[in-house]
């Protein structure tokens, strides 16, 4: 993918707050029409990156292009084509949710009335409550409805569902899939792994202000280890188990891990032992993310 047609293209971005370096040479590429998940531990720099992409913060150095423009300079033109859901939704205390949706929609240049009504209905949002009366989840619904009621080319979602219940989480996923169907690109920052798994085409993991891993979920899985559990007839000599690691043997049962790219080699070493039962388990999402968040051993 060339840089030219990317929806978001960030290279070597740095941003400091005083002496604290929030972003430290971050690279990020989001292709048109894809849902790109943006993950990382708390304080890794996700929200700072998003604020730079929105032109709220100015980059210290590096190049940032959003929809082919400079987010700091071309604010107005770009924002007509972008919709944003902040992580901490703070509403005007005396204004109702309905008023806030209409205000934000009007400021973006109008919203789709039919879709607004439909989203309010689907998210079961009461638009007549005042900002200060909404719970966290309901404030997020207001922001989601406001963002998705207009046809934006790029949706920037900063942990949009951290306060939603599972039913609303489902509605949110449907709505994002529909937006993608209309041709929108999505940058989705999230800690909800199931959401990332079902929505994301590609993902980038940010750690300490730079992107540590990027690729499809399958790519990332491929770079991590698969667990093998086998019951064998003859117990092997350790020397013959080169392809396997972390080997543990109890009676005639054997556990081990293997690099995902070397599964067939591992099976070749096991088959001569007379396998009576075999489970090959790809890494669970949780263990995959834990591993990615923590970083490679020795790196810290």
């Amino acid at each position: 993918m060339g840089t030219g047609d990317a929806v978001i293209s960030v290279e070597q971005l740095t941003k400091s707050y005083g002496r604290f370096r929030a972003l430290n040479g971050l690279d990020l590429q989001v292709a048109p029409g894809e849902v790109h998940a943006f993950l990382g531990p708390n304080g890794a720099g996700k929200s700072t990156t998003i604020r730079v992409l929105l032109g709220l913060l100015r980059a210290d150095s590096g190049s940032v292009r959003v929809l082919g423009g400079d987010p700091w300079r071309d604010v107005v033109e770009l924002h007509r084509r972008i919709a944003y859901v902040p992580g901490e939704v703070s509403l005007w205390p005396g204004m109702t949710g309905g008023e806030a949706i209409d205000l934000l929609g009007s400021l973006r240049g109008g919203l789709d009335e039919r879709r607004r009504a439909e989203l309010v209905e689907r998210f079961e949002l009461d638009p007549t409550k005042r900002g200060r009366q909404y719970s966290k989840g309901n404030r997020q619904k207001v922001a989601i409805v406001a963002a998705l009621s207009s046809d934006a080319e790029l949706l920037i979602l900063d942990e949009p569902t951290s306060g939603l219940d599972p039913l609303m989480e489902n509605v949110f996923q449907e709505v994002v899939v529909e937006a993608k169907g209309r041709g929108s690109s999505v940058l989705l920052s999230s800690h909800i792994l199931a959401e990332v798994e079902s929505l994301a085409d590609r993902l980038s993991i940010i750690r300490d202000g730079r992107v540590a891993e990027t690729g499809t979920l399958a790519d990332l899985r491929g770079r991590t280890r698969t667990t093998i559990h086998a019951e064998v007839v003859t117990l092997p000599a350790h020397a013959s188990l080169d392809a396997l690691e972390d080997v543990r043997i109890d009676g005639n049962r054997l556990w081990a891990t293997v690099e995902s790219s070397r599964i067939s080699a591992a099976l070749e070493t096991l088959l001569p032992l007379g396998v009576t039962a075999l489970t090959v388990e790809p890494p669970s999402l949780e263990s995959l993310f834990l591993r990615l968040y923590e970083g490679e051993e020795g790196e810290r």
């Binding site: 709220l56 924002h79 109702t96 209409d102 205000l103 638009p127 200060r132």
Partner: protein, 529 residues
């Protein structure tokens, strides 16, 4: 200690440390106010004659009496200090006490910090108790600092300590008022507005009661009147401090009773459902909507002030005639009565102008408050350019004070022109309009601060403070013209007598420069930091 206030002590430490820092500027300003009079008086008014002249100058301008209250005795350092510092210092301490108490109680509830703590081993009255103890403690420290500093710099010890004590007592009463309004308002901003409005009305009524020779009970019905009646430096009467302490206790008892009856995070007034669809569709409408409550309240206040000052103006000649010193002054041909009336009107309109700048500065500071509350972020993520957003708020910050000043000026002009004091409607209204550019310069200071360096919020008030001190106190202090000229109001021509209108041009150039810098700053800086 009962269980309702359990946990007050551990709460107290962070509250006191955090709010002590915020309160320090109030201590500094009030101490400077008092110390500067004690140090300055013998320098500026060395002879008996100078002191007489000061008495005449102040007696000849009843507008000053409206702010500073009665001058019981201007011939001694302590009497002068009492006149200059008691009412104004008390007002400042009152504001400081209100903000401190609301910050420690209601504002924390709104921000959710209190909820974190409320789930700990903390009784339900502990937060209010910690706020009350902190505020009472800080205002007490303030009184002692003012008293000791004044005594050390040459004030009479008893008078100085009494002056400090009136400031403390005013702080206590305002803490009581704020503790009550914190239970009534539906959020911190509403609560502090209620309390500040109460203080403002009491302050205005005290000035009126003394200036207009109202019956004695109007002074004694007003808690701020008790403070003035201690007469530091003249009679040194201590007992009016007792009712002040009594009132504080009553207010606090009421506040704790109210607190026991309301839900956490809610006020006494429950919100109703609102419209499902919005009419606010532009940044201008948003600025209006966000500032609606305070702007309406200020509108009412300025209509009232217009009536009060207008009515006051009609009796100006009687007031001047009653002052024997002024009579001698007039008889000697040093000034004509018409000239005094004209000077009075200019002072009143200057005072109104400085007051109208306050809502202007508040509108600009609201920009910062919205930013910190993370509500500017979603607005900026729409296709709104920063300059447009800033311009909408700036437009409101400029038009609201102008409208207030014209409204109040019209009322003063109408009432004054009906009385037989030789004041024309058009002249007075023109004078009000001519004061508007000076108000804008003061507001533009806030435009600059919020645009370039909003972290120093207090600096946004610098224009108001400087204008107030220089315009209203400067002349009696015989400050040099170069110093007085720092206040934009100094450049406002007397429309009836001055030919040149150039002064308005100069201050408008300054306004333009401040605004441009503010815009550049707001365009270039990081938002929400």
């Amino acid at each position: 200690m009962s269980s309702a206030v359990a946990g007050t002590l551990p709460l107290l430490r962070p509250v006191a440390r955090h709010d002590g820092r915020h309160f320090a500027p109030w201590v500094l300003v009030t101490t400077l106010l008092s110390v500067s009079s004690v140090l300055g008086y013998p320098q500026i008014f060395p002879t008996e004659q100078d002191r007489m002249a000061l008495g005449v100058a102040i007696g000849a301008n009843p507008a000053l009496g409206l702010i500073f209250g009665p001058a019981f005795d201007l011939s001694t350092t302590d009497g002068f200090n009492a006149w200059r510092s008691l009412a104004l210092g008390g007002f400042l301490v009152g504001l400081g006490a209100i903000f401190t108490l609301i910050r420690a109680t209601r504002a924390q509830e709104d921000s959710g910090q209190a909820e974190l703590l409320a789930s700990g081993v903390v009784g339900r009255d502990a937060r209010l108790m910690a706020g009350v103890v902190t505020t009472i403690g800080l205002t007490t420290v303030l009184g002692v600092v003012v008293g000791v500093a004044t005594g050390l710099t040459g004030g009479d010890w008893e008078s100085s300590m009494l002056l400090g004590a009136t400031m403390t007592a005013t702080g206590w009463m305002c803490a009581g008022i704020a503790a009550v309004t914190a239970q009534i308002g539906s959020e911190a901003r509403a609560s502090s507005s209620f309390a500040v409005a109460t203080l403002g009305v009491l302050f205005l009524l005290r000035g009126l009661a003394y200036s207009m020779d109202a019956p004695d009970w109007t002074v004694w019905a007003n808690p701020l009147g008790w403070m003035t009646e201690t007469r530091p430096g003249v009679d040194n009467v201590w007992w009016p401090l007792l009712p002040a302490a009594g009132l504080t206790v009553l207010l606090l008892v009421a506040a704790f009773a109210l607190q026991g009856r309301r839900d956490f995070g809610m006020g006494a007034i429950a919100p109703r459902p609102g419209p499902a669809r919005g009419k606010v569709r532009s940044t201008m409408a948003l600025a209006l909507r966000v500032n609606r409550g305070p702007l309406v309240a200020w509108g009412i206040a300025f209509v009232l002030l217009g009536f009060v000052y207008g009515y006051f103006t009609t009796s100006i000649k009687d007031l001047l005639a009653r002052d024997s010193a002024v009579q001698q002054f007039l008889a000697a041909g040093a000034a004509s009565a018409d000239k005094l009336v004209g000077a009075f009107l200019v002072t009143v309109l200057n005072l109104l102008g400085i007051l109208t700048a306050i809502p202007g500065v508040q509108v600009m500071l609201r920009v910062r408050a919205e930013e910190l509350a993370e509500r500017v972020e979603p607005v900026m993520a729409t296709s709104v350019a920063r300059p447009r957003y800033y311009a909408s708020n700036l437009l409101l910050a400029f038009t609201a004070p102008a409208a207030y000043l014209v409204i109040a000026g019209t009322l003063v002009a109408t009432l004054a022109s009906r009385a037989d004091i030789g004041v024309g409607f058009t002249d007075t209204l023109l004078q009000a309009v001519a004061t508007v550019p000076a108000v804008w310069t003061v507001v533009a200071v806030a435009v600059l601060v919020v645009g370039v360096r909003p972290q120093v919020t207090l600096a946004a008030w610098a224009g108001v403070l400087l204008a107030f001190v220089l315009t209203l106190l400067g002349p009696t202090f015989k400050l040099r013209d170069e110093v007085l000229a720092i206040s934009p109001f100094w450049h406002v021509p007397n429309m009836a007598t001055d030919e040149s209108r150039l002064g308005l041009l100069w201050i408008s150039l300054v306004t333009a420069a401040l605004v441009v810098l503010g815009f550049v700053g707001f365009r270039r800086r990081d938002l929400g930091r």
